[in-house]
Amino acid sequence: MTETPLIKIEKLQVEFPLGRTLFGKPLKLRAVNNVSLEIMSGQFFGLVGESGSGKTTLGRAILRAAPLSSGKINFDDGDVRYDVGSISKSDLKNYRKLAQLIFQDPYAALSPRMTVRDIIAEPLEVMGLTKTREETDKLVREIAAKCRLNLEHLRRFPHAFSGGQRQRISIARTLVCSPDFVVADESVAALDVSIQADILNLLKSLQKELGLTYLFISHDLSVVAHICDHVAVMYLGTLVESAPTSDLFTNPRHPYTRALLSAIPSLNPDDRGHAQKLEGEIPSPANPPSGCTFHTRCPMAKDICRTEIPQWRKLNDKHSVSCHFSEDLPKT
């Protein structure tokens, strides 16, 4: 891992139109609000949060698959630099090669009418990266072998495969154009536990082999804890905490992170009901609470939380948080 950011995001906002008010004023839903973060080259960067927290939208914005309302996303891999927000059409084509996406559901992501070989080859053909069929086949076979797919299977159709095999096909398709940066959006959520571990190990070994940087989006904290180097926690479109994995799990400095950690069901049957329970549900992003967006559910909310938005500040070099009372939280 080098200490240069591959992706640098500054004050990013993503808004979606929601129609208009009675007086013709446009209504907006702010899915991502004032997010700044850096993803270092070679990092396995985790992004966690409940549904509706904006984690998928953030991942898509980085890939230029969601509209940017304001803020900056810079991509810099040492060879090329792009300002993703104002990227030109021809640059975008090149950027698509460098930044790719693995989808959540391997059953929905693969066309049932294409053979596995054609599915994996499609990005190469669409982007015109290879000149001859032989060249395409060679690359397809190489990446298929790296993703531990049986080369015999390349002639078959996706319906013949189980969930884990399909996800490996999906990963091979993502990596065939040799990207630098991959967004893995809930890529193991649809898989069974026994298969999930296999895919996680594959992602990790491919990272070493191909020098990838991941943004790993997940709602499952125990998965994130195992595989990521650095974790950011999102709530209602804003980042609430970001820290190296071990730091975040042993010393969480935001009440929401603490609540999330304690809500994970423990495998110990004698450890029941010790969780610090969160009341209520995540509010609608169309009508977010004032001040700190978490104050409606926060067990330690005070008056200032209802009126003043907490600053995104650094506790130390790598640990950032947005809470008025991070220093005052009780010891864990």
Binding site: V193, A197, S222, A225, L267
Partner: protein
Amino acid sequence: MSLLTVNNLNLQFDTDEGRITAVENVSFEINTGEVLGLVGESGSGKSVTAKSLMQLNPSNAVYSPESSIKLKLETEEVDVLSLKSSSELVIVRGGAVSMIFQEPMASFAPAITIGSHMVEQLLIHTSLTKKAAAELSIEMLERVGINEAGKRFHQYAFELSGGMRQRAMIAMALSTKPKLLIADEPTTALDVTIQAQVLDLMKDLVAEFGMGILFITHDLGVIAQVADRVAVMYLGRVVESGPVRDVLRSPVHPYTQGLLNALPKLDALDQPLTPVEGDIPSPLERPSGCVFHTRCPQILADHCQNSVPSATIVSKKHTAACFAIETDKEAA
């Protein structure tokens, strides 16, 4: 005698590709006030086992003659599989047995209010008047922690959040005061913080209503939190069952051990994840002998492929079906 006794349940489906075995020789019991966790990966047959208790499987389901499902009520004993007409089946479909499904959005009709759903089933299963049924329904909605229950009663499923829908589903299932509640992955579609709330609610309700629960999930953490006993299923067979502490702390079947090793654990972040080798076989290529032998690390040469292991008693109430344990016992 137990509230529910399932004996030698064998279930096959007639399909165009031939007869597929979904459940094979499954036996278990549930007592009043007890939570039995049924855990397994997709395709393990846990949902069809549960649906058999209400005869909700599609018409191509074939139960073998030796299968028996007995439900003991105060006055009578019901042989569930012998019920034929829908008027007879009312007793297990919402009367003495209720079910909570995984996806609450799919379980409520979109064009009917929550209240109409609740009143309708009360009119079918009880002798309440419409007015009394509505009052009881609102009371139940309040009991499961829904604010403004009177208002929610007149709303449609899409107007409620995911957690609230699942609460409404629970309220509906419990309003007829069932003896047995089947919960099929009731928290899988929910966020962890909401999952913690719903699990708490269910534990309270067992204590209050004193019914038996069959709790189906793929999440061993959830099992550890709610179940008293657990049965682990793989490809239609129960491979291990026993008190939740015994099974989770000292699993003896290689599959249960594999599942636990594949699970990311928060207190052992440095440990590598060990996937269970191989993929779950397709139901059309059901392995001979022990169904797990194709993925088993402890396979005994020319034994496991040929004959089916029966349940061996490991300790009081803790059983597992594996030849490796049998030979260990003999050696000891």
